[in-house]
Every structure is written in structure tokens, then in C-alpha cells.
Symmetry: C2
Subunit: 187 residues, 2 copies
């Protein structure tokens, strides 16, 4: 079971402002730029490569707060597991689209693997940090929005030891976002 | 007078470990990689584009601690101003190579401009943050070493307001370092 990260941050490494807002992300860069066939910066290709998602509660609540129409829902019918130790039921507008989970993450990944899933999209800052520390993340795609925020919720947090990244790829898009891709080497 | 940043950070944005060490930087990535004509990741070209440097005291002390031979000195005869409110004299092994300065940064840049200097290399975390907050940085080249450190001395700190970056360029080198270049837009 492969686990991958695909997430946007500011150039100084924040995934959201302190209050959780991501307005800055949607207004960052040059929205007028001609993106050619890169308008989604690889998101559809990434989604096509995964068959399940694991996200944190806050990440799910942010998505829920957007009140997406079925046409706007970006995850197709990909199975979505939401991690929470406190919330037992998903908000009404995402009910049926997500399953709640509370428990050991290695067990969850093992179970998803036993169920035939091959590649999980891991989303949300706290969740990504937990998966990194468990040695579970195989690949990371980080899309840097061209803005400095100064403070906010950081993508990365403390880790048990230095973690080596490999097979670097980089793309600068016409809208001035830069996408970095790395394979994680836990050896 | 144009001011530019050229600095290496970990993928999670640290320029040094908490104790100031940068050993991780020298061992990061794949040192065996064939870098072709990119072995210095653009450093010589950048140095050729600047005619003076402004660095913080800690940055200078780190360089001093390396006890570089004249052959190893990476800055040629570029004029170097070291900022410190406490240190009046440079360490012996860099004396003659650097000048100490204590005072207003806008005044310093204006004075360098009046002296005919055109392009300053701004170095050191605290110094870079001060210049960013004064709206003095025109361009930033950030070279991401392929490693997560989890904690350390961050390149960026709090800023007065969001700062927009433009004209993104990205290069992934054979050693798995990724270099990002941005023009800063303070408007």
C-alpha cells in the first residue's frame, strides 16, 4: 500500500493561515496566466493514480464548509477515510462520501491494503505529519503558491530524525506556482 | 540598488539546525550525481551578478569558523558588510575581508548606492527577514536541499503582511536539490 502527499503550501511552508483560511491560496500567483494543458497543475493525473484517501478531520471540515455541488466534488467516487478521535459522524453535506475512522494508522493502512487498495492520497497537515513520522509516506508533491505568509499552519512539524528525499522533480507553472516532487527515503 | 537573496534551506524551510550547524546541508542529496556544468547550482553566476554583500553576524561567524584558505574563500574581493549591534571587530581570520556595520539598513543601502554599488547579496536568516520586512528584497533564489529536518532556524519569519512573489523559475538538479527563483512584488 503506497501513501502519497499532494498539497499546496506558501513558499514559507504554510498550508493555511492561523484561522485555517486558504483564501490566499486561491488568489496567489497570476490567475490570468495561460496554463495550457496544466490548468490543474497535475491534480487530475494524481487523483487518477490513487484509489483511496485518508484525511484529517480539519481537512474534511474545510471541504465540508465549501458546500460543493456534486459537479464540484474533486474526488470522484474515491473512498475517503476521515481520521478523528472525537467526531463520530460526518457533517450532513459530506455524509455518504466519507467514512470516519479512529484508531491505529498502521492498522488502517494494512486493512486498506487487504481490501485491495493500492495507493492512498494522504491529506491534511496533522495527518501528513503523523504518516511521515510512521515512515508511511512514499512520495510527496508540494505545490508552492508564490506568496510569503509569515505565519500560519505549517505543512511540516517535528520529526523523529532527519528524513532524506530523492528523485527531485520541479516544475514552474505559468501562474508562478512551483511544484516539487520527491520520493521519501526512510532508510 | 538591488538586493537579492541566494540561500539554501531544507525542504521544510530551515537554514540551519537549532545549534546553527549546517552539516546536514553538505551531506544532503546525492553527492555522486553527475552535475554536468551545474556543479555549483548557479552560485558563480550569482556572485558575478553582485558587487557587494550584506550579512548578519551569525552568518559571518559561521563562515569564520570554517577557517577558509584564500583559495576556498567563495566571495572573491566582493565588499562585505557584516551587521552587528554588539560586535565591533571582525574575527582575525576574516579581518580585512569584511566591514562591521551597526545602524539603519535603509541608510546602509542608500550609502552603498551612492558609492556606486548596484546589486547586494543579502545573507543570513535574521538579515534576510529584516530586509524582506523593509521591502528591500528584489529577488530570491532558494535552493532546497532534499531533506526534512523537522526543526531548526527558519529562513522566513513573521512579516507585516502577505508578500506576493512573481516570475517563478524552478530547476531540479541531478543531486536532487531544487532551486526556486522569484521576483518579489511589494505592491
Amino acid at each position: 500500500m503506497k501513501c502519497s502527499v499532494y498539497i499546496a503550501t506558501s513558499v514559507d511552508g504554510f498550508i493555511a493561515k492561523k484561522d485555517g483560511s486558504v483564501d490566499w491560496l486561491h488568489s496567489a500567483g497570476n490567475p490570468e496566466a495561460d496554463m495550457g494543458n496544466q490548468a490543474d497543475m497535475g491534480f487530475a493525473d494524481f487523483m487518477a493514480s490513487v484509489d483511496c484517501m485518508v484525511m484529517g478531520r480539519k481537512c474534511m471540515e474545510m471541504i465540508s464548509s465549501m458546500n460543493l455541488t456534486p459537479e464540484q466534488w474533486p474526488y470522484g467516487d474515491t473512498r475517503i477515510i476521515v481520521l478523528s478521535n472525537t467526531l463520530k459522524e460526518a457533517p450532513d453535506n459530506v455524509k455518504g462520501k466519507v467514512e470516519m475512522y479512529s484508531g491505529d494508522l498502521n492498522d488502517l493502512i494494512a486493512k486498506l491494503g487487504n481490501d485491495g487498495f493500492k495507493h492512498a492520497y494522504i491529506d491534511g497537515g496533522t495527518t501528513i505529519q503523523a504518516f511521515i513520522n510512521l515512515g508511511l509516506i512514499a512520495e510527496m508533491t508540494i505545490t508552492r503558491a508564490p506568496v510569503l505568509l509569515g505565519e500560519g499552519i505549517a505543512l511540516f512539524g517535528k520529526i523523529n530524525r532527519d528524513i532524506k528525499l530523492e528523485q527531485a522533480q520541479a516544475t514552474a507553472f505559468a501562474n508562478d506556482f512551483i511544484q516539487e516532487k520527491f520520493v521519501v527515503n526512510y532508510r
